[in-house]
Structures are given as structure tokens and as C-alpha cells.
Symmetry: C2
Subunit: 121 residues, 2 copies
DNA sequence: GTAACCAGTATAATGGAGTATACCAAACTA
DNA sequence: TAGTTTGGTATACTCCATTATACTGGTTAC
């Protein structure tokens, strides 16, 4: 009886922990602009205005805010170097690449989901 | 030159398609309650009030709305049977299980991200 | 027969993500 | 030296997800 309880509460803890982890991931990837920004930077855009122009519809305000939070989450790195040809530069971190498997699975699922929905309608 | 253009535009198309697929997945998993609901149903809760009670903080309105959209997305099935012991029953579909790999990767990433953030602060 | 439980719906309010628009100082450019 | 580009900030607004609260009609339990 006590034993069962223990197992159950451990299971519950794990489930809460897992839902929490999932929501952390969603929070980092979520919102309207995160993925387009990551995509843009990973595709060779490194300056603020460059990224901005590459994403139709985004405002400077949103780009600024998102870049800041993504820097906090260590997904990108901002460097300022007055003597470089590019004074302010945004780059994806190696850590950002750890997203790889997640992104891949999400793309796979999203594509097959779209097909599934179309097939059943 | 024309060749390069072709390749580039194909790359661009694929990227848009991938960002789109990603956002589809995010849309299905996103929001505050989707994951807790999936979790609850997958862990043996099948009646409306049962699910409601198992998720602290959720309102009947939100549960009702989310269940409806999840049914549209074929993640769960609602069955009504006046003569059964449970008249209204919610179940996860086999299709819902296709989330498995995505969810797994997201949990993995979420956990290690939390550790990473804690380590660097 | 009334009290509690079931599966929800209706209406109104709130908060926060995202939008719109204007503005800024510094550098570079013609 | 006037105009443009860069890397942003400031202020106000809008819309939509989520909340809060109340209500309903049917069923089961005592």
C-alpha cells in the first residue's frame, strides 16, 4: 500500500516534470516570430536590419524584443565591435543547434499532420 | 545563373514550408492547456469532470473549447453512449500517439535547457 | 423530493502578445 | 552637408487567449 503510493507519487512527479519540460520548450520556440528569426539567422542574415528585412511583417520592436529574449536563452549571441566591418552582429550559438532533433521531429509531424487533415476533409 | 536562381528559390520554398510545418505543430501543441489535457487523458481520465478535476486551475469553458479543437485535430475521440456506464467518454486516438517522438524530443530538450540555464546563472 | 453530480453553455472582464507609428543618435555616403 | 542606413527605444493601441462567474437541463444517490 505504502509502496504503491510511493510509485504513484513518483509517477506523478515525473509527469509534472515532463509537462513542465515540454512547456519550457514550447515557450522557447513559441510565439509568432521565434522560428522565422532562427531561420533567418541560420541562413546568413546577421545584422539587425538584414534580419528585419528578411522577415516580412515583423516590426523593429518585436525583432528587438525577441532577439533580447533569445540571447537570454542563449540561442543567439550578440556581438558589438566598433572596429569590425559589421558593428553589431547576431549569430546562432552551438547551443541553438541542439534544437536540431526537436525541430526535425516537429517538421516531420507538421507535414504529415497537414496531409492527414487534407486527406480527411 | 538561371540554375542558381532555381536552386535558391527551391531552397526558399522548402524553408517556408518547413517553418510552416513547425508552426502547425506548435499550433496543435501550443496554448496553456493542450499538453496537460493530453497528459490527463493518456493517464486514464476519460470523463469531462474527471479530466477537469485532474488539471488544477482549468475552467470548464477552456476544457470544453480545447477538447473540441483537439477532436477537430483528431487527437482525441469523443463518444456518447446513453447505455454505457460512462455516457460521454474522451479517449486519445492512435494518431495522438504519433506525437510520441516529437514529445520525447521536446521533453529531452526542455530538461537539458533547464539544467543549462541553471548552470549558467 | 431534494441534494449532489454530470456535461457542458453564456456573458462579461482581464492581460499580454503583437501592431502601428513616431522618433533617436551615430555612422556612412554622395 | 544633406540624405540615407544602422541599431535600436518610446508610446499608444488592438485583439485574442484566458479567466471569472453564473446558469442549465438531465441523471443518480439518499
Amino acid at each position: 500500500m505504502e509502496y504503491t503510493k510511493l510509485i504513484l507519487s513518483k509517477m506523478e512527479r515525473n509527469q509534472k516534470e515532463e509537462v513542465q519540460a515540454l512547456q519550457d520548450t514550447l515557450h522557447v520556440l513559441g510565439g509568432k516570430w521565434r522560428l522565422p528569426i532562427i531561420n533567418s539567422i541560420c541562413n546568413g542574415n546577421h545584422r539587425f536590419r538584414e534580419i528585419e528585412r528578411s522577415i516580412p511583417g515583423i516590426t523593429t520592436r518585436m525583432l528587438s524584443r525577441e532577439l533580447k529574449e533569445m540571447e537570454l536563452n542563449m540561442l543567439i549571441k550578440r556581438t558589438e565591435d566598433r572596429d569590425a566591418e559589421i558593428q553589431v552582429k547576431y549569430e546562432s550559438t552551438p547551443y541553438c543547434k541542439s534544437f536540431g532533433p526537436v525541430i526535425e521531429e516537429m517538421i516531420k509531424w507538421g507535414k504529415s499532420h497537414r496531409e492527414e487533415i487534407i486527406r480527411n476533409s
